[in-house]
Every structure is written in C-alpha cells, then in structure tokens.
Symmetry: C2
Subunit: 391 residues, 2 copies
C-alpha cells in the first residue's frame, strides 16, 4: 500500500524522556493541508491542545506541520503555553511556513516543566532528516504502548487513486468522548474543510469514541485529519463517501489496536449490543460492560462469569427487562432470557484464551438500537505499569 503523496516524516531523541528513544517527531505536508481535529473534553487541557485549537482557527484550518513530543504532557505547568508556542515558531521558521500552520501535540507526564531548549535544539535535526519514514513517527509518539499502531488504505476512483495513512498511540487513560489519545490520519485527496470535519467526526464516532481502556480521559487527547490534495483528486458525491469510509476504516483499525495494546492487556474485547429501543441505550450498555473492571478481570482469567456482564448492563442507567437478555461469549450462549444457559465450560474457557474476545448482549425485543465498544482485559500488568509511571 502506498503512502499518501506530499508528506514527509522525521523523529529524533531530544532528551525529553529519560530513556534514550525518539521522543520528538514531525509530520510535514509539502503544501499546507486542509485539516480538522477533535480534542479531549477534559476541563483541564494541556497547552498544546489549547494552542492547536487556536492555530486551526487562526490558520483557517490550514496545516503545514504537526510537531509531537512524548515523555512530557506539557500540561499543568507554569510555562506550558510559552513552550508550546515557542516550539511552533521554531518549526515554522525552519520550514518557512506560518506559525499558525503548525499543530503541537504532547503526551507524557503531567505537571513537569518542559524545557523549550530541548525542542529548539532538535528541530534542525528533524527538518534535515525529513523522509518517507512514516513508521519513525509512529514509534516516537509511543509512551507505555508496546508496539506502534498504524493503518493504511487507498481508494480507487476513475481518475486515479488516493491514499490514507494513520498512526496512533495509547495506551492508558483511554476513554470515549471526543478524541482520545493521539491520532494522525493523512490523505493526499483534496477535500474541502467542511467535508473533512464531517468525515473526521463520523470516523471518530466509529472508532475512538467506542474505545475505553480504563475510563480515564487524558488532558492531551487529540486526533487530527489532514488532506493535502497532492494526489490532485477531489472526490465528489459518492466518491466522498468512499473516502470517508476508508478514513473511518483506518481510524477503526487504529482504535482496535489501541484497545488490544491497552496497558497490561493480553486481549482485545469487542462488545456488541442489540435489540435496544435506540442506539443511545445500546451504547450505554455496551460501554458499561466494557468499562466494568469485574468483567475485564474475568476475561483476563478466561472466566465465563456472565453474571458480571448482566450486572454491568443493569447499572448502565438503561431500563430493560432482564428476562429479555441473552448473552453470548465467543458466540456461545451463556445466558438466555436472563437465566444461565447450559454450556461446555472447559471448551468455552479455552475459547476465551484467544487474543480477541467477543461479548454480545442481545435484548429479544423488537428494538433496532445496536452498538459496539472496544476495550481490553484488565491484568496485573496494568497495575504494575501505573503504580510507578511517574517515578
């Protein structure tokens, strides 16, 4: 699969994180791209989130570069706003573009001052090292993730092909509502700003907004979508839907990769609900099941404890009749009409040992409301990672 045209990438170790591993990265579009972004809904917003929002506005949605660092959230510090702006200025100068065309993003520990000199010193290295190495950026933005997360697609039109490429990072503090975590999706299609925003919101709704690792929502979350038009193809009408579909698919793949690589996770859990009066109810129940630590630990232990799934649905805030509830684990019916079904327990336990677990919660009524949710199992690893992340 080809990368989108007209983008270049670079990553380097700037000394922001203690461990010597790339921690500063740059994505550059050779011509200013149309861009849209969604941000965390946390009241506490990191300086780069605030500045990216402002730049998108003052730059009328045009973006030449995304500057990302890992190892420091640049949040809840005295100098955060200054550091974020100074860093964008350095990048803009080196790339001969406008400061407001640079989007900053940060991930890492909160409340530690970020030294702007580390970034200023590293930017020349980044700019001179720009190449087609997409993966180098995907690697540099990771924190407690165990692997890079990338996804690609392309769409064929009569007049040619456009490419879509996405990268993201997790892997704790992942919770739905608006962008969660960092995600960057690039295309070389030409897309007007208004369409781009709609495509991003639709894509987020079927990916990042269906994702929870631990119910915590970060101060730094941001997902940006860039379209630079380098393929010189402007999808119209149905083509625009096809492009949206490809972008949504890339985002969904990224979201699933985040869930599967949640902190300490050994399993991706996909929750599906159906038969509800409306999609909102279905979503609430799916989310309650996906967020339940008791469900997530049971899955970690390959324990078909469906009572916890029923209980989680029950406290989701959605009214339903338990006597209408069917539950399936890996396709095996474990609860019928709210009561335990007979199933081959050793066989099901073995099925639950896989790296992907499917939970289905179905109301037998006539409702058409259905939903999906992605999460991961909860293991000792999550505790180990988070008990001493800062120090």
């Amino acid at each position: 699969m080809n990368l989108p045209l007209g983008y270049r990438y670079a990553a380097t170790y700037a000394g922001i994180r203690k461990q010597e591993k790339d921690d500063l990265a740059l994505i550059v579009s050779d011509r200013p791209a149309e861009a849209a972004a969604v941000f965390t809904r946390n009241v506490v917003q990191a300086a780069p989130v605030q500045l990216s929002r402002r730049h998108l506005k003052s730059g009328k949605g045009k973006v030449s570069a995304v500057l990302v660092n890992a190892g420091n959230a640049n949040c809840a510090t005295r100098t955060g706003a200054h550091v974020a702006l100074a860093s964008c200025k350095v990048v803009a100068k080196a790339l001969k573009t406008k400061t407001r065309y640079v989007l900053p993003a940060s991930t890492g520990v909160i409340g530690v001052e970020l030294d702007p000199k580390l970034i200023a010193d590293a930017v020349p290295r980044l700019v001179s090292g720009l190449s087609s190495n997409f993966e180098s950026v995907a690697e540099a933005i990771l924190t407690t993730d165990t692997r890079a997360k990338v996804a690609f697609d392309e769409v064929r039109f009569h007049r040619g092909v456009v490419a879509v490429a996405g990268m993201t990072k997790g892997s704790g503090m992942i919770h739905p509502n608006m962008a969660t975590t960092l995600g960057f999706v690039l295309t070389d299609a030409e897309v007007p700003a208004s369409d781009l925003h709609r495509i991003l919101v639709d894509g987020t709704d079927r990916s990042y907004n269906l994702l929870s690792v631990d119910g915590d929502m970060s101060t730094n979350d941001m997902v940006a979508l860039l379209a630079n038009g380098a393929a010189k193809l402007r999808p119209k009408g149905k083509e625009c839907n096809l492009l949206g579909e490809a972008i949504g698919g890339v985002m969904e793949s990224l979201a699933k990769q985040i869930a599967a690589d949640g902190e300490g996770a050994r399993k991706l859990i996909v929750v599906r609900t159906s038969g509800f009066r409306n999609a909102d109810g279905a979503r609430k129940v799916a989310r309650a099941i996906a967020n339940s630590p008791l469900v997530k630990t049971a899955i970690a232990g390959s324990d078909p404890n469906w009572g916890r799934i029923l209980a989680a649905a029950g406290y989701s805030g959605v009214r339903f009749d338990p006597a209408e509830a069917d539950i399936f684990l890996q396709g095996v019916p474990v609860c019928r009409r709210g009561v335990g079904a007979d199933f081959d327990e050793p066989d099901l336990k073995q099925k639950l040992d896989g790296s992907e677990v499917h939970i289905r919660f179905v109301l037998s009524g006539k409702g058409k409301g259905e939903a999906r949710f992605f999460t991961c199992d909860l293991t000792e690893g999550y505790i180990q990672i988070n008990g001493s992340y800062r120090t």
Copy 2:
C-alpha cells in the same frame, strides 16, 4: 460497648459455598422491629432484593428476622423467587412469626441455582443456636472480604441508654447510589417508621453512598436498619437527632471498613473536595478522583502523581478553572493554582506508604460546596481475586 437488647444471632455452614465456612446466618428480633431498607438501583435485582422490598411493604415495615446467605447471589436463576420465598417460610415457621416479617438477603456468584433444601435443612440448627454472638453473623456474610466489619455506638438519654450495632460486608462490586453491599444496623431504641427511614437515608448519604471500590454496582445490595424498642426508650426531638448521629456514625465506620478492605486493597483512600459552587459538583469531582484507576494505582505505588488527580477532576463533568485548583496529598501541597508545587518527594512517598491516604482537592474560589468519598488503592490483588472468582 453493649449490644442492643432483644436481638439474637446465629450462623452455620449450610453447604452453599464450596469452602467449609459459615454461609447462612440469622438475625432475630424477639419482638417485630420497625425496619427500613435501601436497595441496589441495578435494573437486574436478585430475588431476595425483590422479596425483601415486597415483605417490607406487605409487613408494613415490621421485621422479625433477617436471613442472609453467602456463596450464592440467588440472582438470574430460574428458581430464585421460589427459593427466596421458601426460605423465608421455613424461618417464619421455626420462629412462629409471619413470612412477611422475614427479610432475605444473598451475596455471592450470580446465575447459579441455589438449592432450597440446603437452607431448609440448616434453619433448625440456626434457630436452636440463637445467641448473643453478633460476630458470628458478621463472619458468615463475608465473601472475598479479608475481615469482619462491625461498628458499635450507644446514646445516653436522661432516661437511659440505647445501643446501636452494625455489620457489613464488601468487598468488590462496591459503588455508590443506594445501598451498596450488605449492611445490617440494629438499635434497641423505639423509633417510628417514618423517622427510621429518614435516619437510614441520611446515614446512607454519609456512608455507603460515598463509597466506591471498583465502580461496579451489584444486583444484591441492601442495607437494612432495625429498631425493636427493647430498650423501652423512644427518643424525641433532639434525642432523635443524637440517635441519627450515632447510627450515621456506625454506618460511616462500616463504609470506611469496606473501602479499606476492598479487593486487593492495602490502603483506605479518603478524598475531600471543597470550594465548589455546590455540593453536587464537589461530589462529582470527589467521585471521579476516587474512581480513577490511574489515581488508585498511583496510590498503590505511593507515587505522588497529582497530574492524574487533576486530570480525573477535569473529566468529572464539572466545569471549573484549573488555575484555581490546589491539590494536597497527606496534607502536603503538590499542586497550587493548577501548577506543580515544590515538595519533598522522598518524604511524601514515605507518607503515602501508610494505610490511609488523604487526597484533598480545593478550589480557591468562594464556593461552599464540599464533599467526601471513600475508596481504596488498586493493586495486583484485585486482579488476582477477580480473574477467577467464579471457578
């Protein structure tokens, strides 16, 4: 401290749980007591919860006995309603009281049929073994709790003394809103039903409703308050407030004991918030902090990672200005006006090693809204306990 007059207790091993440890218990009031109870708000309600509710109504709030079993939730089974009713009938017959004066309660695994014969066979043993052994019941109702949880108080009036005694069990699936877990509070004061209900609701608001272990809410939660009047003292006016205070204090102690003994917990965490526009906002922020797995794992690791506390407050749904936020850990200021404060990290880490951790989140505005919340740290133990509870 004396036990309330006119109550007797018994516990036995009926064979409901696999491990040979008392699993069936009876609390008897020699004369029918006035009673009030609060129940889980889960849509999925266990058979004993449904029947207790009905008995309180049909019995006009009179209760002669509480029958509790551990090891089986009697929930989401084919025969649950029948088993609960049959068990109450057996008890009523043996005690020569009315079936509707018996409150059933169950805790344990969901979705496994409960054999009524085990209970019928054990009731004669229970009735013949009734004694003043309050603790025997407190022991029998435990599941994954590591210790019994009891609290006592007495109130002196001019005309004499009334006693209050409470017992409870945790220790996972603990979440606020209505009664959580099982709790039984007894007094020998004479209290009219209407006052009793108010005292219970006030007490719940300052105890069980401020409590979260893992955010999961059970199908079986119930807290009951019984007043049998055996002390022949009927508190009036201010005396009634004193009694309410004593009962609330007992309930608060029980709630804290549950948090401190949360599954895998090594530390009780007390979260306090203040300076909010109203109590509701303060409560939401306190709850978000208490429920954050990232905060709870940081406390487990004695890591003063206050950024996670700020982030949790930020996603609580309450609007506030981060620049007004002060955070204290064990009384030590770690964040001032939304920015990291200087503190002696090794010293604070040592302070966080204690068995009780105090988190304070203060807005520097003029708001009078404040709240408290109890929880525990999140450790590997929680995962180990819950990864294989059922099997």
